[in-house]
Every structure is written in structure tokens, then in C-alpha cells.
């Protein structure tokens, strides 16, 4: 008897939909609201002591002295880790092994590369003693002049931007496009440095047991963290056990293990006791990445009818003096608008900051606000409604590659959001609308886009003799709802009701689920779960369909379907057998199987894969005082299959609020002489408060995508920022007639511009 194993994109065994697509509330919700969810810093192993980092207050130079004796004299201080007194590392923390390895400061020298860099670690019996000990170190420095800002030095062309993207991309004939254009928008925009500011600071509780290491730490990528720590300490990755069930936000800053987290591990090794190290809020502005400032010049040429002839998008970004991460800001212009000629190019300037890193929609966020603002400018220059302009230049294929889209329901997004917002009849000219109180009213829009990315992830599925199932995968819940959405996929993949499933996650002892980034976690791990489920159901099906005693005998593997803990014959639903019966007859306690998920290279080479959306914003502006208030935001998004509408709404809403924040609030203010950040706290680093968030509506547009992955998931983690920031900025222009090209939009620009 031949077993028909069907593990194609549409596996025979699995019916998705019983759990997938349902608006289930968070499985970890009660734990969180009752304070029972145990975050990394909530752990207190026996004998644990506290480590506090002393940070540099200069941005460039050398530490010439530390008063270690004074710190050590303080009651409760156990030890002070310095460049002269620290455990040996097996690997240079400045070594670059792979594109995801970034240099970190682990007290390897007395050099200071940026303000807020770790220069020592004080270990004490109490947090208070460690904090006081760190203050008593009274560092002295040899100071060099800090390089600050986008004009701090000679600009150069980076080798690549983002992870491996070419720094310059040319499509079509730029010169010919410029020559053909009868209308040209040529505008230079700036975006500020931003910091992730996850609510939960980076924290670690590290326990060594011989050459085994147990760490509690928030991670968006336990597999990567294991590899990095293994290299640094010269132990096998399997000896490192990371526990990371919950993250209080990550936004990319917890994608790679950071220097301070490793310092906690070093401190535990130095003194041979469990150590807890938690960053203070201000210490998060430096060693854990940020979104670098950008200056972007964008030229958009059209004919008189508003048809694009050329987009030339150039971005200058900063990076650190000692490492290479280049925000791929201009890449936002690759995919959205059908221009016969597109050029994107980047240049970089080295400054004395921590290395910028991935921050929610890295490149897409900085590039999108500029592209969408400039498209608004181009539409205005042509006297065309901004939505009509976008539809006129709608990309039917990906402009820079010519590939067809795997799916693209952007037209429906435009239509649904515009209708819901009431966009029709919007006056073309700015400063035309007032409300009953005399406030200026403006409407703006932006297109949202984010690539459908996948990493590599694994899962293991088990069906037990009692008929219940287990799904194991070392996935990461940053608050986005992985505990819930991945469990929904698991239940369907095992053909079980939700309450028959045990979903295990959040630990590096489970199969590596890859990184929770690039909006690709649900797609990647979902595919792994789906494949693991299909494989274990195939084993059950094989047991049943090859057994003469089974009502399914002879059906063939593809002839059965799993549902509600039973296998049913596809051609006769009434003939079925439960998992319990199948395993009992086979005398098995359980069956298990593994599955993995990753991008399909063949499909990727054939199709362009992106999620899309459209965001419409209304703002009101005080005509004399210049104060801006967002009053409405409507977004419609097409992102493939929606696993859990509640979680997806929440993700998109959060992203849109971040877009609002980008346009109107968020900025790290750096002293242009010292290179120190002056607002490294949540009081002065402004993100919107509840009272700044307008009534919002999020619409998800159905999109069936047979190409991205088996489940048709595109991801929603980052797209909400894109489009939204530009929509708000464009609404401010429409309200006031003032085009502010420095973000966030500041009151002085409006006050002085209003006249």
C-alpha cells in the first residue's frame, strides 16, 4: 500500500478555519492583567545579586580613571567589573561573523564610542548598593570632540543598506525621465533620531551552572542570541537555555542580544552567583540600537497629466563610528508607484552614537513619510487629487523588478478607506476647510507598504494517546499575540479544538522559531507549525489507512482530513476515526513530527511579495496658535490571511499611532556639541498620550495569496507606521498650506508659517 503524503501548499489533511480567523482574545491576557505573567526581571533565583552598569557621559574619547576602591568600599558592593577585571571572552566582541553580528561594548577597552556606553559594571547585594557603587566610580575622561548630526563628516557610499540591499538601485533611464518630466517636485526632508523605548527595559537574569548557562531575558531571536553568547563564552549553543515567554515590547531592539545583556552574563561568571541586570530608561538610549536621523532628497517628475516619469530618492543616514548599519530609507520608493525610471541611493556619515539598528519598519518608516509627502507634493503640483494621482500611477507589477505581485489588493484598500473616511469632495487647495469653531481642517492620505518577509523556523507537533495535542516552537511574544495566533494555527494544523491543544513557546529549549522581526514571525512559525501538523497527521493517517480494522482503511493519505480530533474520509464524511482509537489500536503513547517554515525561493524569484494599505487622516490646526490635533485616522490594509482579527487590528492600530507619533511627536534631541541625548526619558521623549490618539478605524481587506507561504500570511507588525505618518503630515499641509519637511512637525513651523 502506497502512502500518499500530501505536503504541498494545500495539504490534504488540514482544514484551516476552525480556529484561524477567529477573533480570540489573548490566551495570556489574564496573566498579564493580573500581574502573573513573569517577565525577565521578575525572576529572583536563590542567591541572586544585582549588577548596575556605569555609563559614559562623553560620546568620544577614553576613560582615564575609575575610582573602583570607592565603589568597593560601599557596603554591599561585591565587585566592580572593568576592562582590567572581567572574565575572559572566547571571541572578540568586535568580531563580525555574519550580517546579524553587531559590535558590542563588553569592557574590551577604555575607549568610549558614544554617550551612555557601558564603562564598568558594579555588582552588589542590593540594587541600591550597586547603583550607589556605580555613582562612586567618578570616571575621568580624555575627551575628543564628538561628531554629531548629518553633517558631522565626509559622506560615503555604504557597501549595502539594511541587510544586504544594494545601496544604489537604478531602474530605467533616470536622465531621460528627468528630461521628459514637465513637472518636477524636488524636496529635501529630514527625519530625526528615534529610540525604540519598549516599555520593558532590556533585562537579564543570568545563572551559570558549570559550563551551562540559564538566562531569563526578553528576546525577539533566541536562536541568534544562543549563537552569539555561545561564541563569546566558548560553550556549545545547546548549553545555553534562554527563557523568554513575554516581552514588554521589542520593536527590533531585542532582535539581537545587546551588550548590556551580555554584561549581565559576564558579571554572573565573574562572581559565580546569579546576577540580575536591568537597564534604566536613560541607558536604553545608546547600546540597544535606534532609528538614525536621515536627510532625504526626493525628485519626482511627471508629465502634465500627472503620469510619473521619474522618482529619484536619495537618502543620507548616520551610522556609528565603529560599525555598519545603514537605514535603507530610500528603498521605500522601490515598489509603490509605477515610474519608468526609479533611482534610490544612500550615503552615510559616521557619528559618535551607538550603532543604529532595526527599529519597527526600518527604512520603510523613514522612507515612507518622505515618499508619501513628496507624492502629495507632486499631486498638488499637477493639480490632481492625491488619491487619483496614486491610482493613476498604480503599480501593476513591481516597478524596479518587473515581477508580478503575488497578490495586491491595494485598490480595494484605497476604495474602502476613502469611502469610510469620506474623502470624496476634498478641496484640492489647502486651507479651505474650517470646523464650527474656526479651526483649520485638513485631510491627507498615504499608501502603506511592507514586504512579506520570512525567516527560517521550526516546530514540533505531538498527538497523544488521550487525543490531545502539543505544539512546540521557540517563538517570541512581544505583545503582538504570538501565544494566541500561533496556538490557533496549531490547533487547526492538528485538527483539534483549541482546548485540546497545549502550546509551548518562549524557550530556546524548544525548536528554533527564528527571529520575530520583519513582520515575518507569524508567517514563518505559522508555516513551520502547519508543516509539523501536516506531518504528524500524515503519520496518524498512515496508521489508520493501512490498517484493515480502521474505517479509513484504503482511503489513502490524501483521502482523509483531520477535524475535531478525528480523521474523516474525504469522500464520505460519516466514516471517521478518532486519534484516540487510532493510537490505541497501534499501541502508541504518542506520535510526533517536525516541520519547518521558510521562504519559498522559487516563488520569491517569480513574484514580488508585499502587504499594502491606505491611510487617511484628518487634523485640525489652531489658525493662530499652530497647535495640531489629529481628529480621525482610517486605515485599510491587505496583508494576506488574517489569523486573528483582534490581534491584527491591535497591531495595525499601534502602528498607525506610531505613524502619528513620527509625524507630530517623536524625536531624540541630541546636544550638538556633546553628543549626549537630552531627553532620554519618557517625560521628554514624546510619544502620543491617549488624549492625542484620535478615533481610529482599521479595516482589513480580504486577500488570498497562494504564493507567499502555505497559509497565505503576509504579516502586519510594521506596515501600520508606513502610510500613516505621511497621511498625517499631508493633512497638516492641507489644513495650513504649510509644507513642513522636518519631522516631527513642530509648533514654530506652523506658528511662523501661518503668519
Amino acid at each position: 500500500m502506497t502512502v500518499e503524503l500530501s505536503l504541498t501548499r494545500d495539504p490534504a489533511h488540514i482544514r484551516h478555519g476552525s480556529n484561524i480567523g477567529q477573533p480570540m482574545t489573548r490566551t495570556d491576557g489574564v496573566l498579564k492583567v493580573t500581574g502573573k505573567a513573569r517577565y525577565a526581571a521578575d525572576n529572583h533565583p536563590a542567591g541572586m545579586v544585582y549588577a548596575v552598569i556605569a555609563t559614559s557621559c562623553i560620546a568620544r574619547g577614553r576613560v582615564t580613571s575609575l575610582d573602583v576602591a570607592a565603589a568597593k568600599r560601599y557596603p554591599g558592593v561585591i565587585d566592580v567589573m572593568t576592562p582590567a577585571h572581567k572574565p575572559e571572552l572566547a571571541e572578540d566582541p568586535d568580531a563580525k561573523g555574519n550580517p546579524f553580528a553587531f559590535r558590542m561594548e563588553l569592557l574590551q577597552s577604555d575607549e568610549v564610542r558614544y554617550a551612555n556606553q557601558a564603562i564598568a559594571v558594579v555588582i552588589a547585594e542590593t540594587l541600591e548598593a550597586a547603583t550607589e557603587g556605580a555613582a562612586l566610580l567618578s570616571p575621568r575622561y580624555q575627551v575628543e570632540i564628538a561628531r554629531v548630526g548629518l553633517d558631522a563628516g565626509e559622506a560615503y557610499a555604504p557597501p549595502v543598506v539594511g541587510i544586504g540591499n544594494p545601496a544604489e538601485v537604478r531602474h530605467g533611464d533616470i536622465d531621460a525621465g528627468m528630461a521628459a518630466a514637465t513637472k518636477l517636485t524636488d524636496a529635501t526632508y529630514e527625519t530625526p533620531a528615534q529610540y525604540h523605548n519598549a516599555m520593558e527595559p532590556h533585562a537579564i537574569v543570568a545563572v551559570w551552572d558549570g559550563d551551562r548557562l540559564f538566562i531569563d531575558t526578553p528576546s525577539q531571536g533566541m536562536g541568534f542570541a544562543q549563537m552569539r553568547v555561545a561564541g563569546l563564552f566558548g560553550i556549545p549553543p545547546a548549553n545555553i537555555h534562554i527563557n523568554s515567554p513575554f516581552l514588554g515590547g521589542g520593536f527590533g531592539s531585542k532582535g539581537l542580544i545587546s551588550g548590556p545583556q551580555v554584561l549581565g552574563i559576564m558579571a554572573a561568571k565573574l562572581i559565580g552567583r546569579p546576577v540580575k541586570l536591568v537597564l534604566r530608561r536613560g541607558q536604553m538610549y545608546g547600546p540597544v540600537g535606534h532609528r538614525p536621523p536621515t536627510r532625504q532628497r526626493i525628485r519626482i517628475g511627471t508629465d502634465d497629466a500627472g503620469v510619473l516619469a521619474v522618482i529619484n530618492h536619495e537618502a543620507r543616514v548616520t551610522t556609528s563610528s565603529f560599525d555598519d548599519f545603514y537605514e535603507p530609507a530610500a528603498d521605500a520608493s522601490h515598489t509603490l508607484y509605477a515610474s519608468p525610471a526609479i533611482r534610490t541611493a544612500h550615503e552615510a556619515v559616521r557619528v559618535d552614537t551607538g550603532t543604529p539598528l532595526f527599529m519597527r519598519a526600518p527604512g520603510e518608516a523613514t522612507g515612507s513619510i518622505v515618499l508619501e509627502s513628496a507624492i502629495d507634493e507632486a499631486a498638488f503640483a499637477c493639480g490632481i487629487d492625491p488619491l487619483e494621482f496614486r491610482l493613476k500611477n498604480y503599480a501593476e507589477v513591481e516597478p524596479t523588478t518587473g515581477k508580478p505581485f503575488s497578490s495586491k489588493a491595494l485598490r480595494q484598500c484605497y476604495a474602502r478607506a476613502a469611502e469610510r473616511f469620506g474623502w470624496a469632495g476634498r478641496p484640492l487647495q489647502p486651507r479651505q476647510m474650517r470646523d464650527e469653531n474656526g479651526f483649520l481642517v485638513g485631510w491627507g492620505m498615504g499608501t502603506a507598504t511592507f514586504p512579506a518577509i520570512m525567516f527560517q523556523g521550526n516546530a514540533r507537533a505531538v498527538i497523544r494517546a488521550d487525543g490531545n495535542g502539543v505544539m512546540e516552537t521557540g517563538a517570541h511574544d512581544m505583545g503582538q499575540g504570538a501565544w494566541t495566533a500561533l496556538a490557533q494555527i496549531s490547533a487547526d494544523s492538528l485538527g483539534l479544538d483549541f482546548d485540546q491543544l497545549t502550546f509551548r513557546s518562549g524557550s530556546s529549549d524548544l525548536p528554533d522559531a527564528g527571529i520575530a522581526g520583519g513582520s515575518g514571525h507569524t508567517a514563518t512559525v505559522g508555516a513551520a507549525i502547519h508543516n509539523a501538523g501536516a506531518a504528524v497527521i500524515a503519520k496518524l493517517a498512515e496508521l489508520a489507512t493501512t490498517d484493515e480494522r480502521s474505517p479509513l482503511f484504503g482511503a489513502g493519505n490524501a483521502g482523509v482530513v483531520a477535524r475535531g480530533g478525528r480523521l474523516h474520509r474525504r469522500d464520505d464524511d460519516a466514516r471517521s476515526e478518532s486519534y484516540v482509537e487510532i493510537l490505541a489500536r497501534a499501541g502508541l503513547a504518542e506520535v510526533d513530527a517536525s516541520g519547518s517554515g521558510a521562504a519559498d525561493a522559487a516563488a520569491q524569484s517569480q513574484y514580488a511579495m508585499h502587504a499594502h494599505g491606505a491611510v487617511f487622516a484628518e487634523v485640525k490646526v489652531d489658525p493662530e496658535l499652530g497647535q495640531i490635533r489629529a481628529t480621525r485616522l482610517v486605515g485599510a490594509f491587505a496583508a494576506g490571511r488574517i489569523i486573528n482579527p483582534l490581534m491584527v487590528q491591535s497591531q495595525l492600530r499601534g502602528g498607525m499611532i506610531w505613524g502619528l507619533s513620527f509625524a507630530l511627536h517623536e524625536e531624540a534631541v541630541m546636544d550638538h556639541r556633546s553628543g549626549r541625548i537630552l531627553n532620554a526619558n519618557l517625560a521628554e521623549y514624546h510619544v502620543p498620550v491617549n488624549a492625542d490618539v484620535p478615533p481610529m478605524e482599521v479595516i482589513t481587506v480580504d486577500e488570498h495569496d497562494p504564493h507567499v507561504n502555505p497559509l497565505g500570511i503576509k504579516g502586519v507588525g510594521e506596515i501600520g507606521i508606513t502610510g500613516s505618518a505621511g497621511a498625517v503630515a499631508n493633512a497638516v499641509f492641507h489644513a495650513t498650506g504649510i509644507r513642513v519637511r522636518n519631522f516631527p512637525i513642530k509648533i514654530e513651523e506652523i506658528v511662523m508659517g501661518l503668519g
Binding site: C57, I58, A115, D435, N437, F439, K620, D622, E624, L625, G626, Q627, R629, T631, H665, V669, M670, D671, H672, R673, S674, R676, L678, N679, A683, E684, H686, P688, V689, N690, A691, D692, K746, I747, E748, V751, M752
Partner: protein, 282 residues
């Protein structure tokens, strides 16, 4: 009205009689900080907030308030929100209190228990301009304790025409870029008496007496508001990248006067102090 120094900001603002008698003070209180901070902050604590800026907090920077004679790194630093009135080269920081702005407009008095017994001080005289000695922020002496705050009964006469307007960079939990408290006694269609003070412009809550004189006896109309606004900012000069604040302050003064003349709202708006407080649902 005598208010103990340990009364919480939120309790005071929500006291019905207080809010009826001194609506601009209640509105200022509720526009300050965040709900959580207002629940914890006290009257005395609010008065004693340090005049400060980011350089005061940044231990790596020179600050004459922290270290007399060290210099002021704010002066040529990131200073778009710093003082435009009463500053010196020694310090350009602003006093961040909202509460104190209408209080100085209404001639509030501070009761102080000191080594020599109890004494009184007009609130306006409590905070000092920086001059040559920015480290001396208040008129308090060593051993002094603020025990109470008094609002004169006459201040109630302004209750029908009193507003506090605050422009800030987000709707809550942000200091004023500039704010203004304005109040009138209007009789027979004329301004009998005006009170005006500004916040976010100087090292102390800034009483604008020249502007009050312009308004006294005039008919309430936009032209006189603009003239009063000019008078209030006549002595202003930028201390850095903040020239816009002089223009903005004049507009806020004119707005606060306009709204005060229009009349105190029946209840404190849901967005206290906000220019958008009149927007339905806001």
C-alpha cells in the same frame, strides 16, 4: 481661601467650591503633568518645583543652578523652548508650573514657617529671576517651610471671566511651550480690572502688569488684546532658537483674553487648558 501645603493637586482641582471660585486655577492644575502625577503632587511641592531644563538634569553638562559658576550649556545648546523674559547669561531655563501662573495673577500669598516664626510672602516674590545667582531660586531661607497658600477673596470676583490656555507639544504630560492665565472683572461693558500672567517664558511665573494696565478701562475687543499682548512681551528677547515663543506668547495672551472675555465655561473642559478644549468630544 487658605490651602494647606500638603493638599494634593487633584483634590484641590476637583473641589467644587474651589473650582467655582477660582476656575482658572483649577483649569491650570488639571492641565499640568498627568493624572497620576496630579494625584501625588502637592500644592507646596508644585510651588517648589525647580526652575530647570534638560541641561540641569544632564550631569555631564555645565549648569549654574547645579554648580554655581560652572556656566550654562543651555545657552548655546538645544534651547528652542527656553526663556524669553527675565533670563540672564547665567540661566535660561523656565519655571514649569502651570498652577503658579494663575496664582500670581490672583496675588496668591505663601505662608512660611521659619526660624523667626510665621511670615507671609506674595507668591510673585517667591521665585527669583536668575540674574547673577541662578542657584538661588527662591526667597526662602534655610529652615523655611511653606505651610499654606492663600488666595485673596477679591480673586473670586474674576470667576466669571477666567481662563488658562496652554500650548504644549502633546495633549497631556508635557510642559507648556507657552501658557497664559487671563481674567477680567467686566462692568458695564468695560474691563474694570484685568489680570494676566504667563507660563513657560521665564524662570518664574510671569505677571504681566503692563498688559493689565493697557486693558484696564478698555472695552474688551481684539485690538486691545493685541496691544496688551505686545505690552506683555515688550521686554522679551530670544535666549536661543526660541524667537518664535515671543510671537506665540503674544498670540496666546490674545487668545486667553478673548476666551476669558467670552466667559468661564460652565465646567472645566475635558482637555483643560487646550486650545481645542471647545471642540466637541475633545
Amino acid at each position: 481661601m487658605r490651602i494647606g501645603a500638603l493638599v494634593r493637586n487633584a483634590d484641590l482641582a476637583h473641589d467644587a467650591e474651589f473650582a467655582r471660585s477660582y476656575p482658572a486655577v483649577a483649569e491650570a492644575l488639571l492641565s499640568g503633568a498627568s493624572a497620576q502625577l496630579r494625584n501625588a503632587a502637592t500644592v507646596g511641592g508644585n510651588l517648589m518645583q525647580r526652575t530647570r531644563c534638560a541641561y540641569f538634569y544632564d550631569a555631564g553638562s555645565a549648569c549654574n543652578r547645579r554648580w554655581p559658576g560652572a556656566g550654562c550649556d543651555a545657552l548655546k545648546g538645544e534651547n528652542r523652548l527656553h526663556a524669553v523674559l527675565g533670563w540672564s547669561e547665567g540661566c535660561i531655563a523656565t519655571h514649569p508650573s502651570d498652577f503658579c501662573v494663575p496664582l500670581v495673577a490672583f496675588d496668591a500669598v505663601v505662608e512660611i514657617e521659619g526660624k523667626g516664626g510665621r511670615r507671609e510672602l506674595p507668591l510673585e516674590a517667591l521665585h527669583r529671576l536668575p540674574g547673577e545667582t541662578p542657584e538661588r531660586e527662591t526667597a526662602l531661607e534655610r529652615g523655611d517651610l511653606i505651610v499654606a497658600l492663600r488666595l485673596p477673596t477679591e480673586a473670586k470676583d474674576f470667576a466669571r471671566h477666567a481662563r488658562y490656555i496652554k500650548v504644549r507639544e502633546r495633549t497631556s504630560y508635557a510642559f507648556a511651550v507657552v501658557s497664559a492665565a487671563a481674567a477680567f472683572r467686566i462692568e458695564g461693558g468695560k474691563i474694570r480690572e484685568a489680570r494676566l500672567a504667563l507660563g513657560g517664558v521665564a524662570a518664574k511665573p510671569w505677571r504681566a502688569r503692563e498688559a493689565e494696565q493697557v486693558l484696564a478701562g478698555a472695552r474688551p475687543d481684539p485690538a486691545v488684546y493685541r496691544e496688551a499682548a505686545r505690552a506683555a512681551l515688550a521686554a522679551a528677547k530670544p535666549s536661543g532658537d526660541n524667537a518664535f515663543k515671543i510671537e506665540l506668547a503674544q498670540r496666546i495672551v490674545a487668545r486667553a483674553l478673548t476666551l476669558a472675555a467670552r466667559g468661564t465655561p460652565d465646567r472645566i473642559p475635558a482637555l483643560p487648558g487646550s486650545p481645542f478644549s471647545s471642540v466637541a468630544g475633545a
